[in-house]
Symmetry: C2
DNA sequence: AAATTACGAAACCATTTGGTTTCCTTTTCT
DNA sequence: AGAAAAGGAAACCAAATGGTTTCGTAATTT
C-alpha cells in the first residue's frame, strides 16, 4: 500500500533517532495539526532558520514529515505513520511494566529470581 | 519500601536518547528477561567490553537498566518503567495514524479536530 | 525591472558520540 | 601468596550532531 517500495535502503535516519532530539519532538508537535511554511515554523524555536531546516530534513528522512512547495514557500506537515514502528517496539516491553508487582511477588516467593531464564536471542 | 524514587535526580540521558541507538535497544532486549554480568552481555555484541559498558551506563542514566554487584561481577537487568514516558508521548500521536476515514469522521463529528491532551514533554 | 521574500546549500565550528586501547582495583581460584 | 578474572576509568580518536553565517536562486511584490 505504501508508495515507497525501496523503503529499507533509502532511509538514512530512523524514527528512533529522529525523535531523540527535543527540538524535533517540538517540531512534530507543532506540525501535527496542519502544514506550515519554514519561516513560521522556525519562529517558534530559539535557533536560526537553517538549523530548523536541518531538523526538518532529518524528520523527512525518517518519514515523519512531508513537504509541499507552494509558490516560493515550502510547507511541512507531520506524518505520524512511522511512529507505528515505535509503537510496536514499545508493545513488546509493555508487559514488563504492567506485571511489575507480579514480578516482585514471584521474586519474594521463590527466593530465586530469574531461575532458568536465559535470554533466547538478541 | 520505596515505590517511587523517580523524582530524586534529573538524569543526564533521557529515555528518547537512550533508545535511539540500535546497540542499546539490543541491550534492552537482552536484559529484559533477567540479569546478566557484563562479560556475558558484551559477548553478544560486535564491540569491546568497555564500549558495551558505556552503553550500559547511558541506559542506567535513563533508568532503563539496573545494576547489582555480585562478587567480582556486575549484573545488569532491564527496568521497563521509564518506557512509560515514551508510551504517553506516543499516545498523543496515535490518533494521527489511524486511517484517514477515522480522522475525517472525527473531524466531522466533533467539529473541532485535534483537541485534547498534550504530549508529556517536548 | 528592481527589490524583497522564502528557503535550500555549503562552508565552517564546537561538542557529543561511539568506539578503541591501556591501566587499575577488587574478587576469586589454585 | 600469586595468578587470573571481572569490570570500571581514563586517555584518545574519528565521525556524527547541532548550531552558525554566507551565498545562490526561484517566486513575489512594488
Amino acid at each position: 500500500m505504501s508508495r515507497d517500495n525501496a523503503a529499507a535502503a533509502e532511509q538514512k535516519h530512523d524514527v528512533f533517532q529522529a525523535i531523540a532530539d527535543p527540538t524535533r519532538r517540538g517540531l512534530l508537535r507543532l506540525l501535527v495539526d496542519g502544514e506550515m511554511p519554514v519561516n513560521a515554523i522556525s519562529s517558534h524555536f530559539p535557533m536560526t532558520r537553517p538549523a530548523v531546516s536541518k531538523h526538518l530534513r532529518i524528520l523527512a528522512d525518517a518519514g515523519l514529515v512531508k513537504e509541499r512547495k507552494v509558490g516560493r514557500e515550502t510547507r511541512y506537515r507531520m506524518d505520524a505513520d512511522p511512529l507505528r514502528e515505535l509503537k510496536s517496539w514499545l508493545a513488546f516491553y509493555e508487559r514488563f511494566w504492567e506485571n511489575k508487582l507480579d514480578a516482585l511477588r514471584r521474586y519474594v516467593e521463590t527466593d530465586e529470581p530469574n531461575r532458568g531464564q536465559e535470554p533466547s536471542e538478541l
